[in-house]
Amino acid sequence: MAKHDHLVALFWVAVSIFICEESIRLDPGSLSNPGPGLIPLGSGLLLGGFGIVLFIRTFRARQEEKETVSKGGIRWQELALALISLIGYAFLLDYLGFLLITLIWMVFICRVGKVGWKKTFFISAVTTSLCYILFAHFLDIRFPQGVFLGF
C-alpha cells in the first residue's frame, strides 16, 4: 500500500483543515486563558504539518526505490458486506428484537465467511441461544424485544 501513502497524506491535510476551522469557531482563547478550541487547534495544526511532511517523504521514497505492489489488497466485497451487516444489525435491533436479528445476522455473516449451510444454521442457532441465556438471564441485561416476537 506504499503507493497510496501520498493520497493518505493529503487526506490528513484535509482533516487538519477541517479540525482547524472548527477549532477556531470554538474559540481557542489565548495562551494565558486557554479556551475549548486550543487543544483541537494545536492537534489540527500539527496533523497538517506532519501530513505535509509525509506527503513530501512519500514522493521522495517513490523516486528512490521501485515500488512493489503489496500482496493482499482490500477485499472490498467482504469488507462492505461485513460492515453493512453490522450497521443493519444496529438499526434493526430495536425493531426485530435481539433473538430474531441476531439469528438472521449470524446466518448472513457465516455465509460471508463461506461457512456451509448446515454448519451456518447450527452455529447461528446455538450461539444466539447461548448468548441470550448468558447475557439476558445470568447477567440480567435487557435486550430489545422487537415488534414481532415480543420476547
Binding site: E22, L26, L47, I74, L86, L93, V115, L139
Partner: protein
C-alpha cells in the same frame, strides 16, 4: 513499608469468595484467548468491561488482570505447537519454540515457558509491591506541569518505540488527541464536535473505538485468507517437565528476562511485546552460541516468555502511582476503575488497600493457577486449535456487538464501533499502528487538563515546563526521544549512507 502485612491483607481478600472464582475465570479466559487467534487481551478486556458494572471493584480488576497475564501464558502454546503466535508478545517464541517442537522437544519448550512465566510473573509482582509505593511517594510532588511533561514524554517514547514509521505513529497520536477532545469541554461546559449528538456528548467512548479498531478490524483482516495450521501433537504430562540441562541453560535467561520485562513494562509504550523482543535480542547477543538461535535454542524461549509475563505486573506501576496507563490494556483497566468511581493516582494505594493488595495477591494465585491450566491441560487447549477460523470469526463479531451494546443499550455506539472497524482495517492496510491512537485517546483528557492548568498558572508562558526540575527533565527527555528518528536520518544522509527501509520516517 510493611509489605508482608499488606500481602497478608491481600491474600485474605483473594481468599474471600467470589474473588477466587473471578481470578480463575480471568486466567481461564485469558488462556483461551491466548490460544485462539483473533481475540487478544485488548478486545477481550474491552468486551468484559461493561460486565464489570455488576461486580465489585476488587473482583472486576482481579478478573481483568487475570485475562491479561493469562493471555501471555496461552500465547506460547500456539507459538510452540503451531508456529503461529497466539499473542503478539509470543511472536519471538515461534522462532525457537516451534523448532524445538519439530525436534521432539515440545515438552521442554512448553514446560520452560510455563515455569519461566511463573518465576518472572512472581518476581515482578514483588517489584510492583515495592515500586508502586515508591513512585506514589514521588507522584505527590507532581503538579499540572509535571503531569503534562510526563504525558508528553510518554507520547514521545511510544512513538519512538513503535515498530513502524514514527511519522505515521505521530499522526495516529494526533488523531487520537483530536478524538479525545470530542464531547463536552470540562472547563466551559461547551460541546465540542458533537453536532447535537447526545451519544458523544460525554466523549466518543473508549470501548466502541477499541472494539472497532482492534476487534472488528482484526476479524476483517483475517477474513482475507485463513492460514493453514499444522498442529504438532502435544507431549504427555511427564514429558512437560524440563530436565536438569534445560534448567541449567534457561535459569540465567529467565532471570535476565524478568528484569528486562519489568523495566520495559514500566515504560509507556513498552509492555509485553517490547519486553519479549528485547529479551530475545539480549539472549542472542550474549550467547556463546548465537548461531543456535532460530534453530531450537531453549534460551530463545525461556527469556522472552519470562519477559512478557514480567512486563504485565510492571505495567501496573505507572497506573497506580500516577494514574497514567502504560499501554492500551492498562487504559482499559483504568476505564474499569473509573466505572467504579476510582481514579488512580498518588493516593490510590493508601485509599484502596483492599483493592490494590487483593489484586497483587491475585497475581500470585493466578500465576499458580496458570501453571496447572497450561501444563496438564495442554491437550484440551490443543483441541481448540482445530476450530477453523470460519467458525470463530462470527462468534468474535457477535461478542463485540453484544459487548458494545450492553454499555448503554445505544445502537449508535454500534455504529461508532463499525465506523472504527473500517478505520482500523484501513489503518492496517496502510500500516498505521493502533496503539498510539488508543493511547492518545485515553490520555488526552489528562494532557489537556494539565496543559490548560499549567498555562493558567504561568499566564501563558511555556517556560513553566522548563523551570521546574522534574517537568524540565521529562520535557527534555521527550524532546530528545521525539527528535531521535529524524536525527538518525539526517546523519545517514549527511554521511551518504544507504537508508534502510526501517529507518524511514
Amino acid at each position: 513499608m510493611d509489605v508482608l502485612g499488606h500481602l497478608t491483607l491481600g491474600f485474605s481478600v483473594i481468599l474471600q469468595w467470589p474473588n477466587p472464582g473471578y481470578c480463575f475465570l480471568g486466567v481461564l479466559v485469558g488462556t483461551l484467548i491466548g490460544v485462539l487467534p483473533g481475540l487478544g487481551p485488548v478486545t477481550t478486556i474491552a468486551l468484559l468491561l461493561p460486565s464489570t458494572y455488576y461486580l465489585n471493584d476488587t473482583s472486576a480488576i482481579i478478573m481483568l488482570s487475570g485475562v491479561y497475564y493469562g493471555a501471555m501464558y496461552g500465547g506460547s502454546t500456539t507459538s510452540i505447537l503451531v508456529n503461529i503466535p497466539g499473542e503478539t508478545s509470543s511472536i519471538v517464541t515461534c522462532l525457537d519454540g516451534h523448532k524445538m517442537a519439530l525436534q521432539g522437544r515440545a515438552g521442554a519448550a512448553l514446560g520452560i515457558s510455563a515455569f519461566g512465566s511463573l518465576i518472572g510473573g512472581s518476581i515482578s509482582v514483588a517489584g510492583l509491591m515495592i515500586g508502586a509505593g515508591l513512585l506514589a511517594q514521588a507522584a505527590l510532588r507532581f503538579g499540572p506541569p509535571e503531569y503534562f511533561a510526563l504525558v508528553f514524554m510518554s507520547f514521545s517514547l511510544l512513538i519512538y518505540l513503535s515498530s513502524g514509521s514514527p511519522l505515521k505513529a505521530t499522526i495516529m497520536a494526533l488523531v487520537g488527541v483530536f478524538l479525545g477532545t470530542i464531547g463536552t469541554d470540562f472547563i466551559t461546559g461547551e460541546p465540542r464536535f458533537t453536532y447535537g449528538s447526545l451519544t458523544i456528548m460525554d466523549g466518543i467512548g473508549l470501548v466502541p473505538v477499541i472494539m472497532g479498531v482492534f476487534g472488528i478490524a482484526e476479524v476483517l483482516v483475517n477474513l482475507e485468507g485463513e492460514v493453514k495450521r499444522t498442529v504438532i501433537k502435544p507431549p504427555k504430562f511427564k514429558n512437560l517437565l524440563p530436565n536438569l540441562r534445560d534448567w541449567r541453560d534457561s535459569i540465567a535467561p529467565i532471570f535476565r528476562g524478568t528484569f528486562i520485562g519489568f523495566f520495559l513494562g514500566l515504560l509507556p509504550g513498552g509492555g509485553a511485546i517490547m519486553a519479549s523482543f528485547a529479551s530475545y535480542a539480549v539472549e542472542k547477543k550474549i550467547s556463546k552460541h548465537p548461531e543456535k538461535f532460530g534453530h531450537g535454542a531453549i534460551e530463545g524461549v525461556a527469556g522472552p516468555e519470562t519477559a512478557n509475563n514480567s512486563a504485565v505486573a510492571a505495567c501496573y506501576v505507572p497506573l497506580v502511582s500516577f494514574g497514567i496507563p502504560a499501554n492500551v490494556v492498562m487504559a482499559l483497566i483504568l476505564g474499569a476503575l473509573m466505572i467504579h468511581g476510582i481514579r488512580p493516582g498518588p493516593t490510590f494505594i493508601a485509599d484502596n488497600p483492599n483493592l490494590f493488595w487483593g489484586v497483587v495477591a491475585s497475581m500470585y494465585a493466578g500465576n499458580a493457577m496458570l501453571l496447572v491450566l497450561n501444563l496438564p491441560l495442554i491437550a484440551v487447549w490443543v483441541r481448540l486449535l482445530a476450530i477453523p477460523y470460519s467458525i470463530l470469526f462470527p462468534l468474535i463479531l457477535l461478542f463485540c456487538v453484544i459487548g458494545v451494546y450492553t454499555i448503554h443499550n445505544n445502537i449508535w455506539e454500534l455504529v461508532i464501533m463499525t465506523i472504527f472497524g473500517f478505520i482500523g482495517y484501513m489503518m492496517r492496510k496502510f500500516k498505521y499502528e493502533g496503539a498510539p491512537f488508543a493511547f492518545a485517546l485515553v490520555l488526552t483528557p489528562v494532557m489537556e487538563n494539565s496543559l490548560r492548568q499549567s498555562l493558567l498558572m504561568s499566564e501563558g508562558s511555556f517556560g513553566i515546563f522548563f523551570s521546574r526540575p522534574i517537568a524540565c527533565t521529562l520535557m527534555v527527555a521527550g524532546i530528545i526521544l521525539f527528535s531521535l528518528p529524524a536525527v538518525h536520518l539526517l546523519k545517514q544522509r549527511a554521511f551518504g549512507g544507504q537508508i534502510r527501509k526501517d529507518q524511514r520516517l
